[in-house]
C-alpha cells in the first residue's frame, strides 16, 4: 500500500525545527503561569497545591494537569533548580525557557500519535483526505501561536481528544474512548463543553442496545461507569480525602469573571456588543434609553466588566441556557443516529454552541471547534464550504494574542501559508456532495475570505498610521466582529449540513 507523502513524521520534524527556532520569541504570562505550577507542585505538599497564592497565577487546572506538572518538575529540578522555587516569580533564565519550550514540543508527540492513529484507522478511499486533514491539524497555526509562542500545552491535550475521537470509531475501542475523555476532563475542564456529545453518544452507542433504546447493556454500563469513577477518583480522590473539593472547584470555576475576556472572543456576544456600540449613535433617533455609564466606559471590551448602553445586560444564566439549547438540538440527532460522523458533528456543534454563547469565552477556545471539525471537513464539499470561513475567522481571531512586532510576520505569514495550502488541498480532495450545495453560502465565504486581507492590514498597520494611538479598541473590535461573523456564518452553514445529512 502506497504511503502518503509527506508523512506526518517528516512534517513534524520540519515543524519541530521551526518551533525550536521560535524559542526566543514573545511569551505571554502563561509561561510564568506554568513555571509557577512547576514550582507549586514540586516544592509544596499536595495539600497546599490549590491553596497557594504566592503568585497571582494560582493553580486553576484539574488535578491530572497538576500531576503532569509534577512529573515535569522532576526533570525541571535537574535542569535548573531555581525554576521550581515558588517565590522565584517571573523567573525566565535561558535554561528555563529551553526546558519549558521543549516540554511543549515533546508533549505534542501525543498529538502526532493520535493523528497517526486517525489516518491508520481510516478506510482506503478516504485515506488521502484524512492524511491531509491530519497534516493540517499537526501544522495548525492555532497550535503554533498558542502553544509555541504564547505558551500552553494544548497540542498534548488535543492529542488526547483526537485519540479519544478516533477510538470512538470502532465498537471495540468505544470504552477506551470514554475513559480517555474522562481523563482529559481531569486535565483541563474546558473540555466539559464537549461532554454532552460524549454523554449522549456513549449512552446510545455503548450503554444501550443498537436495535432498541429500551434494552440496556448492563455490562457495558458497569465497565464505563466503573472506569470513569476510577479515573475521577484517581484525580480528585486525594483532594476529597483532604476535604479540599470546594476550594478546588472554586479555583476551577471562577464565576466572578465577566462576560467577555480581555478582548472579545469572536462569538455572538462580540456581535451583540458591536451592535450596542452602533446603537449608541442610533438610539437617540429611535428614542431608546441610553445607559451613560457604559458609553463613557473607556475600557469596555478590555476588562471583564462590560456594561451595555442600549441593549439589555446578559447574565450567566442566559448564556448557559442558550448554550444548552443549541447543544441539545444537535444531540437529538446524535441520539437518533449514533454514527461516528454524526458524533464528530455533534462534538463540533457542542464546541460551536459553547464558544458562541458561553460566558467568559476565551478566543483560544476556537480550537475546540476547529480541531474536531477538521476531522470531518473533507467528508464532502458542503462540509468544506462550512469549514472554510471558520478556518479563516478562527485563526485570524488569534492574531491579537501576539501583539509584538517581531512576531507579526510569523503569525501572519504562517497563517496565510497554512490557509492557502490547506484550503487549496482540501478543495482538491473533498469529494462532491450527493446533495445540492448552497450557492449563496459559497459566495459568502469567498467574499468573506477576501475581506480578511485588507482587515489584517488595517488592524496591524493602517490603524496606527491613521489614528496613531487613539481608538485602540477599534482594530480589536473590527477583528472580533469580523471573525464573529465568520464563525457564526460557518456555524449556521454547518448546522444546515448536519441536519440535512
Amino acid at each position: 500500500m502506497a504511503e502518503n507523502f509527506p508523512t506526518l513524521g517528516q512534517c513534524a520534524l520540519v515543524a519541530g525545527a521551526f518551533k525550536v527556532l521560535l524559542f526566543p520569541a514573545y511569551k505571554s504570562t502563561d509561561f510564568e503561569v506554568h513555571r509557577n505550577w512547576l514550582a507549586i507542585t514540586n516544592s509544596l505538599p499536595l495539600s497546599r497545591w490549590y491553596y497557594d497564592t504566592t503568585s497571582e497565577w494560582t493553580l486553576d487546572y484539574p488535578p491530572f494537569f497538576a500531576y503532569f506538572e509534577w512529573g515535569l518538575s522532576q526533570a525541571a529540578k535537574l535542569v535548573e533548580p531555581a525554576m521550581v522555587r515558588v517565590f522565584n516569580l517571573e523567573y525566565d533564565s535561558w535554561r528555563t525557557i529551553y526546558f519549558q519550550r521543549w516540554t511543549v514540543i515533546l508533549s505534542e508527540l501525543v498529538l502526532l500519535y493520535a493523528l497517526y492513529e486517525f489516518v491508520a484507522a481510516s478506510q482506503l478511499s478516504t485515506k488521502r483526505a484524512n492524511h491531509a486533514a491530519a497534516l493540517s491539524i499537526l501544522l495548525s497555526p492555532g497550535l503554533l501561536i498558542i502553544d509555541h509562542i504564547h505558551f500552553q500545552y494544548n497540542g498534548c491535550m488535543y492529542g488526547f481528544l483526537i485519540l479519544s475521537l478516533v477510538w470512538a470509531r470502532s465498537k471495540s475501542t468505544l470504552l477506551w474512548s470514554g475513559l480517555a475523555f474522562a481523563a482529559l476532563l481531569c486535565m483541563k475542564h474546558i473540555y466539559l463543553y464537549l461532554a454532552p456529545a460524549y454523554f449522549v453518544f456513549l449512552l446510545r452507542a455503548y450503554c444501550l442496545h443498537p436495535k432498541s433504546v429500551m434494552r440496556i447493556q448492563f455490562m457495558n454500563c458497569i465497565k464505563l461507569g466503573g472506569g470513569i469513577v476510577a479515573i475521577f477518583a484517581a484525580a480528585f480522590g486525594p483532594f476529597a480525602y483532604l476535604g479540599q473539593i470546594p476550594q478546588l472547584l472554586s479555583r476551577l470555576f471562577p464565576f466572578s469573571r465577566g462576560l467577555g475576556h480581555a478582548y472579545w472572543a469572536p462569538n455572538v456576544w462580540a456581535l451583540y456588543s458591536f451592535a450596542d456600540r452602533v446603537l449608541i449613535y442610533v438610539a437617540p433617533r429611535l428614542k431608546l434609553p441610553v445607559n451613560l455609564d457604559a458609553v463613557n466606559s473607556v475600557t469596555r471590551g478590555l476588562v471583564g466588566d462590560t456594561a451595555f448602553a442600549v441593549l439589555p445586560e446578559i447574565t450567566p444564566n442566559t448564556c448557559f441556557a442558550l448554550t444548552l439549547f443549541f447543544q441539545a438540538l444537535s444531540l437529538l440527532k446524535l441520539f437518533n443516529q449514533p454514527t461516528w460522523d454524526t458524533f464528530i458533528g455533534a462534538v463540533t456543534l457542542c464546541g460551536y454552541a459553547s464558544f458562541l454563547f458561553g460566558w467568559h469565552v476565551h478566543e483560544k477556545a476556537i480550537l475546540l471547534v476547529i480541531i474536531p471539525f477538521t476531522l470531518i471537513a473533507l467528508k464532502d464539499r458542503r462540509y468544506l464550504g462550512a469549514f472554510r470561513p471558520l478556518a479563516v475567522a478562527g485563526h485570524v481571531s488569534l492574531f491579537p494574542l501576539l501583539f509584538t512586532p517581531a512576531e507579526f510576520p510569523i503569525k501572519t505569514v504562517y497563517t496565510i501559508f497554512w490557509l492557502i495550502l490547506f484550503l487549496m488541498v482540501f478543495d482538491r480532495l473533498a469529494p462532491a456532495s450527493p446533495k445540492a450545495r448552497f450557492f449563496l453560502l459559497d459566495r459568502f465565504s469567498t467574499l468573506y475570505i477576501a475581506i480578511s486581507i485588507p482587515l489584517i492590514m488595517y488592524c496591524s498597520l493602517g490603524h496606527r498610521v491613521v489614528f496613531g494611538k487613539a481608538y485602540e479598541f477599534l482594530p480589536l473590535m473590527f477583528t472580533s466582529s469580523y471573525c464573529a461573523i465568520g464563525v457564526v456564518g460557518s456555524w449556521v452553514g454547518f448546522m444546515v449540513v448536519y441536519f440535512a445529512s
Binding site: 504511503e3 520540519v14 525545527a17 526566543p24 520569541a25 512586532p405 510576520p409 505569514v413 501559508f417 492557502i420
Partner: protein, 602 residues
C-alpha cells in the same frame, strides 16, 4: 529587477539546435520517465514537495517556497546577532548600523573618511547607498537609531527588528528573484523537470551558511550574491551586457565578488572569441562595464564636487595642511592640491584604500584556508610579508588558471556554476586576507549545481558533494557563531538542511548512486564519512573538554585544519566536474548527460 521573465507558456519549444546530442528526448518540463517510475521520494525534501509532482507549473509551488523560507529566516532572526551585548566594539551588526548613521548624517565626501577606528566604511559605494536608503527609512520610524555619535552600540530591540527587516527585504528584492529566475532558466537549459527545479530552489534558499550569516549573525551578503546570480541569469538569457551591469553591481556592493571576477571575465571573453571572433560584442561589453562603473561612483564624484563648492572638506576636524594622499602618497608630486579635480582623486583613492586593505596581514583570525592551516605547521609570521604576498598570488593564480582556462576554451553556460565555484574555492583557499564568512562565495555557485539535470538525481553524487561542502562550510563558521551564543540556531538550521537533503548525519541516501563504479562509490562514502565523523567528534570534544591552557585556540585550529582539507577536496571536485562536463577529456565525458550549449533561450 533582474530580467523581465514574462510568464511564458509552459510547454514552449524544446531544445534548439544541438539537442540531437541528447541521449533521449526527455526534455519535457514535466517529469522524465525515470522520475515517474520512482514510487517513493529519495530524501525528505522530495517528500515534502511530493504532492506538487504532477504540476507542470513552477508557480503553484513558488509562493509556498517563498513563504516557508521567509518564515525560517525570520524565526532564525529572533536570536542574537554578532556583537550583541559585546562592548566596546560590538560587531558586524553595529558596523552596518553605523554605516546607516554616517551615510545619512554626514556629507558624502566624508563617508570614507569619518572616524575610521569605529567601523569606518570599508565597502564599495553601493553598500553605502544601500545603507543610506535603509538609514533614511529607519529614521522615519525612530530618528534616535541613527543619530550621529549617540547611537553607537545601540541595542534597542525594535532597531533589531528593523535591521532584520532590511536584510530580509533586500534579500527578497535581489537574491531571491535572481535565484528563482536562474533556477528556472538553468533547469530548462539542462532539461531538468520543473519539479526537481523546485527542489533545487528550496535547497539553495535554505543553505545554512547563508541564513546563519545574513539573518542571524547579520550582514547583507545575499545582496551581492544576488547580483552575481542575476549576472548568471542574464548570461543564460544571452543578455551579456546586462550581465556585465549586474556584475559591476555585485562588485560595487561588496568587493568580495572579485572571487568570481575571473570566471565571469573568462566566460565573457570566451564567447567573444569562440566559436568565431566577435569584436563588436567584446567592445560592447567593455563599454557597458566601464559605464556601469562610472555610474556607480558618479554620486560620490558629484557629491564631492558639490561639497567642495559648499566648502565642506573630507577632514572636518583637521586644521593645517591636508593629510597626504592615501594609497599612493608619491602621486602628490604630480598633482596640484588646489586643482578642482584633486578632491575627487583623493576621494576615489581613499575609497580604494578602504576597500582593499593591503596593509593587513595574510589572514585575519582563524579561517579554514590554506595559509591559516599551513601556519599550524610552519609559523608564517617569521617570513617577510612581501614574500607571503607573492606566494599567495602564485598559489591563487595556480589554482584559478585551470578552471578559467577551461571556461575560456569552452564558454558553455552549463559550466558556469562549476567554474565559478572552482575559482571562488581557489581564492578562498589561497588568496590574501580571507575571512571565514567568505566561504559563502564558493558555496553559492556550488549549490547552484543542484539545479542541473544531474543535480538531485538518483544516479549522481552531486547531492553528496554539494551537501558536504555546505555542511562543512557551516561547521567552520561554528566558532564565529558560538562567540555570540548562536549554537542553537546553528544546530537547527544546519541539521534541518542536512535532513531535508538526506545527508549525514541524518541519512546516507546521497551516497552509493546508481551506475557509478564501486570504487568511486565507496571512495566518496569513506572520504566523506571520515570528515563527518571528525566534525561530530569535534563538536563533542569542543563542548565537553577544555583546551590545554597554553593552547586556548586548539579546537579552533583543529576546526580550521579539517575545514581546509575538506575545502581542498571540494575545489578538486568542482574542477573535476568542470573537466568532465566540458568534454575536454575524451574518455571521462562520454555519456554523462552533457547538454549542448544553449545559445539562446528566447
Amino acid at each position: 529587477m533582474a530580467g523581465p521573465s514574462p510568464h511564458k507558456p509552459r510547454n514552449r519549444a524544446k531544445k534548439p539546435a544541438g539537442a540531437s546530442q541528447l541521449r533521449t528526448s526527455i526534455t519535457d518540463n514535466t517529469l522524465s520517465p525515470s522520475e515517474t517510475v520512482i514510487k517513493t521520494p529519495l530524501f525528505p525534501l522530495a517528500s515534502l514537495l511530493w504532492p506538487a509532482r504532477g504540476s507542470t507549473s513552477q508557480w503553484n509551488v513558488l509562493p509556498f517556497i517563498l513563504m516557508a523560507v521567509g518564515l525560517f529566516r525570520w524565526a532564525a532572526g529572533l536570536w542574537g546577532y554578532s556583537g550583541h551585548q559585546k562592548p566596546p566594539m560590538f560587531g558586524d551588526y553595529e558596523a552596518q548600523r553605523h554605516w546607516m548613521e554616517i551615510t545619512t548624517k554626514l556629507p558624502i565626501s566624508q563617508w570614507y573618511f569619518h572616524d575610521l577606528e569605529w567601523w569606518g566604511l570599508d565597502y564599495p559605494p553601493l553598500t553605502a547607498y544601500h545603507s543610506w536608503l535603509c538609514g533614511r527609512i529607519g529614521a522615519l520610524v525612530n530618528p534616535d537609531w541613527f543619530a550621529l555619535y549617540t547611537s553607537r552600540g545601540l541595542e534597542d530591540p525594535t532597531l533589531k527588528i528593523f535591521m532584520r527587516a532590511t536584510a530580509m527585504v533586500s534579500e527578497y528584492l535581489i537574491y531571491i528573484p535572481a535565484t528563482v529566475i536562474f533556477v528556472r532558466r538553468f533547469s530548462r537549459a539542462c532539461g531538468a523537470s520543473t519539479w526537481s527545479a523546485s527542489l533545487a530552489l528550496v535547497a539553495i534558499l535554505m543553505q545554512p551558511a547563508t541564513i546563519l550569516i545574513d539573518h542571524v549573525h547579520f550582514q547583507y551578503n545575499t545582496v551581492m550574491l544576488g547580483f552575481v546570480i542575476a549576472t548568471l541569469s542574464n548570461i543564460l538569457a544571452g543578455r551579456y551586457m546586462w550581465s556585465a551591469v549586474f556584475f559591476v553591481a555585485a562588485l560595487g556592493f561588496k568587493q568580495m565578488a572579485l572571487y568570481y571576477a575571473f570566471a565571469i571575465f573568462s566566460f565573457l571573453l570566451g564567447i567573444c572569441i569562440s566559436p568565431r571572433l566577435n569584436p563588436s560584442r567584446f567592445i560592447g561589453i567593455a563599454l557597458v562595464t566601464i559605464a556601469a562603473f562610472a555610474i556607480l561612483v558618479l554620486p560620490i564624484v558629484l557629491g564631492t564636487l558639490y561639497d567642495v563648492r559648499r566648502g565642506i572638506g573630507p577632514h572636518p576636524g583637521i586644521d593645517g595642511p591636508p593629510p597626504s594622499l592615501p594609497l599612493f602618497p608619491q602621486l602628490a608630486h604630480y598633482l596640484d592640491p588646489e586643482a578642482s579635480y584633486y578632491p575627487v582623486i583623493e576621494q576615489l583613492l581613499q575609497m580604494v584604500h578602504r576597500i582593499f586593505p593591503f596593509a593587513r596581514g595574510l589572514f585575519e583570525d582563524k579561517v579554514a584556508n590554506f595559509w591559516c592551516a599551513l601556519n599550524v605547521v610552519i609559523k608564517l609570521r617569521k617570513y617577510p610579508s612581501d614574500l607571503l604576498q607573492k606566494a599567495a598570488l602564485v598559489f591563487t593564480l595556480a589554482s584559478i588558471i585551470p578552471p578559467n582556462l577551461i571556461l575560456l576554451l569552452r564558454p558553455r553556460k552549463q559550466l558556469l556554476p562549476a567554474a565559478l565555484a572552482a575559482t571562488a574555492w581557489g581564492f578562498f583557499l589561497f588568496s590574501y586576507q580571507v575571512h571565514e564568512k567568505s566561504v559563502l562565495l564558493p558555496l553559492m555557485p556550488m549549490t547552484l549545481m543542484l539545479t542541473g539535470k544531474r543535480g538531485l538525481s538518483r544516479d549522481s553524487d552531486f547531492r553528496a558533494w554539494v551537501g558536504f561542502a555546505n555542511l562543512l562550510g557551516a561547521w567552520t563558521m561554528f566558532p564565529l557563531l558560538q562567540r555570540v551564543d548562536l549554537g542553537v540556531p546553528y544546530a537547527v538550521i544546519t541539521l534541518l538542511w542536512a535532513y531535508l537533503l538526506g545527508l549525514p548525519p541524518t541519512s546516507l541516501s546521497a551516497y552509493f548512486p546508481d551506475g557509478q563504479s564501486p570504487w568511486l562509490k565507496w571512495g566518496t562514502a569513506v572520504l566523506h564519512g571520515v570528515f563527518y565523523a571528525a566534525m561530530a567528534a569535534w563538536h563533542v570534544v569542543e563542548a565537553f573538554i577544555m583546551p590545554p591552557a597554553d593552547k586556548p585556540d586548539l579546537w579552533v585550529v583543529v576546526n580550521v585544519g579539517i575545514g581546509c582539507a575538506g575545502f581542498v577536496l571540494c575545489y578538486l571536485w568542482c574542477l573535476w566536474q568542470l573537466v568532465v562536463q566540458s568534454d575536454l577529456l575524451p574518455v571521462a565525458g562520454q555519456g554523462k548527460g552533457k547538454v549542448a550549449d544553449l545559445r539562446k533561450t528566447k
